[in-house]
Symmetry: C2
Subunit: 428 residues, 2 copies
């Protein structure tokens, strides 16, 4: 399906480019034109190329949001165990339940998450969870773009199984890829991490992990190895090909140097860090230091929703509170994290901005809602006032998957809700 | 119009009452029945009384949210001056622009805010802004419930004008009342405050004000009077008939004692306090001390949206961060603040819960959205995962003003947006 969007405001997120009025063409999975409105004469020449023309009525087109850290299948545990700190929550509630989940469960629960991502304009996710094959299938079937990350830990499958998956799940589908990662320092022993480092070197692969999320995690690592998690993991060579850290709330100057040295990304998760009382990441400092910052919702059991608008407000709001300075981290800086920063962290640079030749991962923002009026600084308004309600359309890989509240992902929401409810009845 | 809601889940917010399946009747402006589903025989006897029967399909009915502190007319300044700390923002940006606003402007801009309140399930507001008569008219025309508070300050109208308004604006319409208040300690001199205290005593009236919002405000008051704002204002007898404080981020033990002694309410404004880097209010402590806590969005220039869902997540999230404890301030405690606590702070106890004889200020929450699935702990989920997108219907005083994205307030959103844009062009 080839689509022409006209009468649009367009925020390309190309560095230095302001919002402008114009039009955008999608042919196949790619953007073939972004720019000023074409004349009637020009349009008459090309109109046969389009199967649908959408009058945007002054609404905004922009790149879809990248949710750079999540655990989609945890939709099952939404409000299952609220009010607990991270470690207790994981060990007493989450791990025992996860042990009972099947691959099929995981696929269905991932589809439930995908519905929610689409309502929030999220067009790509970096997902770390059980049953990677089933997650890949769920994303491919529905049309969601996914970068999976292995959550290797001392309880889980062997490195041999992982290496096989790594080879199998990359290049199997244009929407789906698989990165090296481990759950966290505190769920891996040193020997496992050393072997994983060897694999990273073998494939020259970047490495991703939960990092310095809580004070307790950092303290226990220092007790164990006399190094912070970042420095300890780096000492094993795990970050020699870059990668990223999720959370990064409690970072020393030395930790920050490690991230800079290896050109690593921080993925900040303010909703989860707030709900679990983990702390506030020094995002203003990361920006000052030139570190790439992306945003993740984390999973729906620790957040509990998968909403980039909530995260965007929290990224800047918590930075302001932390630094006691209302001027830090502007709306545009946050939008950059949620789009370009995410694409860079996830290594999907084909999807970062709206430009000819790029993947058509596009959202339309409804500006004709009261929270966007009167129209003034649209970029700031998206971050400070935007909500799911403003997402009129979500397109991934050239296909509209969500439009005016309706989904087009090959399965009905009602069937997904019914499936999730049945899993809940079986496992709770 | 008399309406029967059936097939509903119902959260009455009556103390100790759990969510149950049942039905609810509205006749005129009042609730006439809330309880279990009636039998077909019983229904056949009463069905002639209803002009409309709404099948809720398992969705949730609950009391509307009370936004206990806002400045509606500031919709004009949404994203007008982001990134500034409170005092600079007020003095260099907001006050000069407000000086140019007419009463008619204020009414139109209030209607713009009302659209947004309705999308977020807010059924009553406590509004402090310019042109009280015009605000009252805007609310009465659209059907919004409003408790206005005077924002007396040393630059504004005289106390004689205020007293006249106080007498005129109370009892003029069932949706509208007017309370005594002043802007803040730092915008009033002592003589003015003493005269206002006399008026509070004359009418035995509770008193409301911005209180201890920033460190600077508290410090300057201590420098001036060797007392914190709360203690200083109390020393003038301003709180002898109770009332409330907006913000209350920086409170001493002595301040808390003043609030307890006079049975005053704290209205917490976490979105605004975050965006302006003002600080985090000690909400967990307020609850421990038995102080009534309500929630306000503050105005759309400092927040920048009017969304009770954002505020509810922030109330508990920021409390967890402040106390470094994920267990403080439960979802149900937050819902209580947003409904019953608000009604108590605003002195509209007829609208606090769903019960026979109460005002029909009711919202319907769409549970058939991905962020509410699978259905588990609904109360927690509203607070941790709810969004404007879940508001299917907003009813005030027995009238449905918002339903499935459509407004019924006697003026179209398009006309309001056009009006706001014209004001913007004239004044910016």
């Amino acid at each position: 399906m080839n689509i022409r969007f006209y009468n649009a405001r367009i925020l390309t997120m190309v560095e230095g480019q302001e919002i402008f009025d114009g039009e955008l063409w999608v042919e196949g999975s790619r953007i073939t034109y972004v720019g000023e409105a074409k004349s009637e004469e020009e349009i008459s020449k090309v109109s046969g190329r389009f199967t649908r023309c959408i009058d945007c009525r002054g609404n905004l087109l922009m790149p879809g949001f990248k949710d750079a850290h999540t655990h989609s299948g945890m939709t099952l545990m939404r409000t299952y165990a609220d009010g607990l700190p991270l470690q207790e929550w994981l060990e007493t509630k989450i791990f025992p339940l996860e042990a009972k989940m099947s691959g099929e469960d995981c696929a269905l629960l991932t589809k439930l998450a995908i519905l929610e991502y689409l309502t929030s304009g999220i067009t790509a996710i970096m997902d770390m969870y059980l049953s990677p094959e089933d997650i890949a299938t769920a994303c491919e079937e529905t049309g969601m773009r996914v970068v999976q990350v292995s959550g290797i830990n001392k309880f889980g499958p062997s490195l041999e199984v992982f290496e096989e998956r790594f080879l199998k799940l990359n290049d199997r589908h244009p929407l789906s890829s698989y990165k090296m990662g481990f759950h966290a320092e505190y769920t891996c022993d040193k020997e496992l991490l050393m072997k994983l480092s060897d694999l990273a070197h073998k494939y020259k692969a970047p490495m991703y992990t939960h990092n310095s999320e809580t004070v307790r995690e950092v303290k226990e690592c220092v007790d164990r190895y006399q190094m912070t998690p970042t420095v300890f993991l780096d000492s094993l060579g795990l970050f020699d090909y870059g990668g990223g850290g999720y959370h990064c709330c409690h970072m020393t100057d030395e930790d920050i140097e490690v991230f800079k040295k290896h050109n690593m990304s921080v993925v900040t998760n303010p909703g989860s860090n707030t709900k679990l009382a983990s702390g506030i990441a020094p995002v203003a400092r990361f920006l000052e230091e030139g570190i790439n910052v992306a945003i993740g919702t984390d999973g729906p059991s620790s957040n509990n929703c998968l909403d980039m608008f909530r995260e965007m407000f929290l990224v800047t709001g918590l930075a302001k509170l932390r630094e006691k300075d209302a001027s830090v981290v502007s709306g545009m800086e946050v939008l950059k994290m949620a789009t370009v920063g995410g694409a860079r962290a996830m290594d999907i640079m084909d999807c970062d901005v709206l430009a000819s030749g790029k993947e058509a991962d596009i959202i339309m923002i409804d500006l004709m809602q009261p929270n966007m009026q009167p129209i003034n600084d649209i970029a700031n308004n998206l971050v400070y006032s935007g909500s799911k309600q403003n997402v009129k359309m979500t397109m991934i890989h050239g296909k509209i998957l969500y439009e005016d509240g309706k989904f087009n992902i090959g399965i009905s929401p009602a069937d997904i809700y019914k499936g999730a409810s049945m899993i809940q009845k079986r496992l709770f």
